[in-house]
């Protein structure tokens, strides 16, 4: 699991980030927390994308993860960071597993849109239910870590970083297993995969469930680092679009890509918002189009070109 270049890089990066985070100003730590929390969901979308599936509705699972944290906090007063994360991942993963029975039969645009439709049902329910916080959402109390309440954001940052990188390692491993390698193969020829003796539906169901667990975990971490959930920022279709945007921006080349892409997105948005409070959407949209048109491999492909393919796989 640790013996390839990517894995070694991840371990090294983890070390550097955790030490660096202790000295970095708060806002930089924040950017990394938001970026890495989101990256978890991107990692899952990358697993799907490699198989040619794009979900335009993963805010459903992102939101479920975030709201699981909020509701546990309000109803039961659960504040432990690990319990919260677990809850987010389990709730989203269970929902994903169940929805997966429907989704695994669909491909292409129908897959993308059915996901949107399902996420919109959740959005509609949350927005219209006062006990679920309606449009206002909930504030979330500070997370505790195994019983102790940290003074600063740094411990949460370290945890998010470690969880992010562990997930990257796990996904990196998964992508090398037999079912994990069934990506391009499924995209190229499902019939052959079936005739070889593997159920495409099962493979996609597994990938889908993995992606939903990761999206739920991402939502939970995001809720914890922001201290707030609301449907507009967590479940709406624009959030799904944003997740896909970052996936495309990152590129499918490597499990590290989502983390880099997510950070770039976070910084881009912060500055777009700062420089042009009335036209930041325009900047984001134009960037998005540029990436789709001119950098189809995302940031990772740019890095590969820069590094002369040194880091490739």
């Amino acid at each position: 699991m640790f013996n390839d270049k990517t894995a070694k890089f991840i371990l090294l990066a983890g070390l550097v980030l955790c030490i660096g985070g202790a000295f970095a100003p708060n806002w930089i730590v924040n950017q990394f927390m938001f970026g890495f929390a989101r990256a978890l969901a991107i990692l899952g979308l990358m697993v799907l994308w490699r198989t040619g599936l794009v979900s335009f509705g993963h805010a459903f699972y992102f939101g479920l993860g975030a709201y699981a944290v909020a509701i546990l906090d309000i109803e039961l007063g659960v504040t432990d960071v690990f319990l919260r994360l677990l809850a987010g991942a389990v709730v989203a993963g269970t929902a994903g597993f169940l929805v997966g029975f429907i989704m695994r039969n669909y491909r292409d645009i129908f897959f993308a849109m059915l996901n949107t439709a399902i996420s919109m049902v959740l959005f509609g329910i949350v927005v219209k239910t006062e006990s679920l916080g309606s449009t206002d959402g909930f504030a979330i109390s500070m997370s505790t870590i195994l019983g102790f309440a940290p003074e600063s954001k740094y411990p949460l940052f370290v945890i998010i970083t470690l969880i992010g990188l562990t997930s990257a390692l796990l996904v990196n491993f998964y992508l090398k297993t037999t079912v994990g390698k069934l990506t391009t193969a499924i995209r190229d020829n499902e019939i052959r995969v079936e005739y070889l003796g593997f159920s495409v539906a099962h493979a996609i169901h597994l990938k889908y469930t993995i992606s939903t667990i990761l999206a739920g975990g991402a939502g939970a971490l995001m809720a914890m680092s922001l201290g707030q959930v609301d449907p507009e920022s967590m479940i709406n279709w624009t959030v799904s679009g944003e997740l896909v945007f970052v996936t495309i921006l990152s590129g499918p080349g490597n499990v590290i890509a989502p983390f880099i892409g997510s950070l770039v997105f976070e910084v881009l948005r912060t500055y777009a918002f700062e420089l042009a409070p009335q036209a930041w959407q325009l900047i984001m949209g134009a960037t998005f189009l540029t990436i789709i048109f001119f950098v189809p491999g995302g940031i990772w492909s740019l890095l590969e070109k820069l590094g002369g393919k040194k880091n490739a796989k």
């Binding site: 924040n30 449009t135 206002d136 504030a139 918002f273 700062e274 009335q278 959407q281």
Partner: protein, 430 residues
């Protein structure tokens, strides 16, 4: 070693220490104030832009020392302020992230603004966590200071309970024989709270009237109210309460007007003030109109030096009369000046908070008393009037304006608004 050297070294050390501790010993000559408001989306036109205009106008005047007395000193504790405009759209969670950036990355000195209750509700704990001096200008929900004690967060206008209690009182005075009432409010905290306060108050003060069993709660930004208008037309209730604002408010007025709704029913618009200047003769006569306090059209003719300055300067700069949000943002900026003048331009967040806590000051249109929430939540009078189109001048005016003192429409310190109304509004001095 000679003395000079020692003195120099000590001096250097002291300067370094002071510099490191944030340069606190030096009075600043410039501060930055972040002003979030809706710059995009449906709330920008009726709310966000007038609010931003009000804030800028007042800040510029303060920087130039041009406000009427007693605020004619230059600057904020002498420092000149830069306004950093910011979009409030995109949901509370995004605002939380942006707020952290404002404080931790852009190092603003004060944050003054916010229109949406959802945003204020989300940001209050963050402001406390970051220990950042913050004034909420417009947002309405009473929960912010009723749920928790705040140290760094203030609100310089009355909360939504006042709007609806005052509306109920005005209705009682004007329509004592009212039998039934209904409402159409947006389906989120703002709409739900507004209806609840109005309904509870009427139940207390007009036991002879009763609410319809079919009150409408359409989605915010729905824009199409055909079915609701039919349902309310068929309803027995003679009065319709709404806390609609922005584009929804205007769409509802257009559609209701075209169907004669407001000829058959009494309309009570708690946030109608913003529409008065914008709709011209499309605004029906005879609406009960509020402006979330003594602002906008309700106080246009209040003849004080501060108000005259505000109205005339605004009209010169932007070509229209100032609406409620302009007043509310303007007075929040004014409160910032008051805090800085008292605490000094180099004041810490704690000192600024101490300076504003419990203060009483003359704002442009009314007196602001920071009396609730341990001195963090303002109380003001609240009023309503009835719309009438003045054909001669081609503009809307309000007649029969009546103001209720703060102590009449807001609960005393330490009491939750809902409990206070339910308990018969004890201690209200009207």
């Amino acid at each position: 070693m000679n003395n000079k050297f020692i003195r120099g070294a000590v001096g250097f050390a002291a300067v370094s220490a002071i510099t490191l501790s944030g340069g606190m010993a030096f009075a600043k000559d410039a501060i930055s104030i972040a002003v979030p408001s809706f710059l995009t989306g449906g709330a920008a036109g009726p709310f966000g832009i007038p609010a931003m205009n009000g804030a800028k106008m007042v800040a510029d005047a303060i920087n130039a020392g041009k406000l009427p007395a007693p605020y004619n000193t230059k600057g904020f504790g002498g420092a000149s302020a830069t306004i950093i405009p910011l979009d409030e759209g995109g949901g509370a969670t995004k605002q939380v992230a942006e707020y952290r950036n404002l404080v931790e990355k852009r190092n603003v000195d004060a944050v003054v603004g916010y229109i949406s209750s959802g945003n204020c509700q989300a940001l209050a704990p963050v402001a406390e966590e970051l220990k950042q001096f913050t004034i909420f200008a417009t947002c309405g929900t009473p929960r912010i200071f009723e749920e928790a004690a705040r140290k760094y967060v203030f609100r310089t206008m009355g909360h939504a309970t006042a709007d609806n209690v005052a509306a109920a009182m005005y209705v009682k005075e004007k329509y004592p024989n009212l039998k039934g009432y209904t409402g159409i409010n947006q389906n989120y905290a703002w709409g739900q709270d507004s209806w609840r306060d109005f309904d509870l108050t009427l139940k207390q003060i007009m036991p002879g009237s009763s609410p319809s069993d079919k009150t409408q709660f359409p989605k915010i930004f729905a824009g199409q109210y055909g079915s609701e208008i039919s349902a309310m037309s068929l309803d027995k209730a003679e009065l319709i309460h709404t806390s609609f604002w922005g584009g929804d408010l205007e769409a509802f007025i257009f559609q209701g007007n075209a169907r004669g709704l407001f000829k058959k029913k009494i309309g009570v618009f708690t946030v109608g003030g913003t529409a008065a200047y914008r709709l011209g003769k499309k605004l029906p006569n005879g609406l009960v109109l509020g402006a979330r306090g003594p602002y906008g059209i309700l106080v246009r003719d209040r003849d004080t030096a501060l108000n005259n300055w505000f109205v005339s300067t605004y009209k010169n700069l932007y070509g229209t009369y100032p609406s409620g949000p302009a007043y509310q943002y303007g007075q929040a900026i004014l409160a910032t000046k008051i805090a800085y003048d008292k605490a000094g331009s180099d004041a810490t967040n704690e000192q600024l908070a101490d300076a504003l806590r419990g203060a009483t000051f003359e704002s442009f249109s009314t007196t602001i008393e920071m009396k609730l929430g341990n001195g963090h939540q303002a109380i003001t009078e609240n009023g309503y009037g009835i719309t009438e189109y003045d054909a001669e001048n081609g503009e809307n005016v309000v007649k029969d304006v009546k103001f209720y003192p703060a102590s009449c429409v807001l609960p005393p310190e330490g009491q939750n608004s809902v409990d206070w109304i339910k308990g018969g509004m004890k201690g209200a001095k009207c």
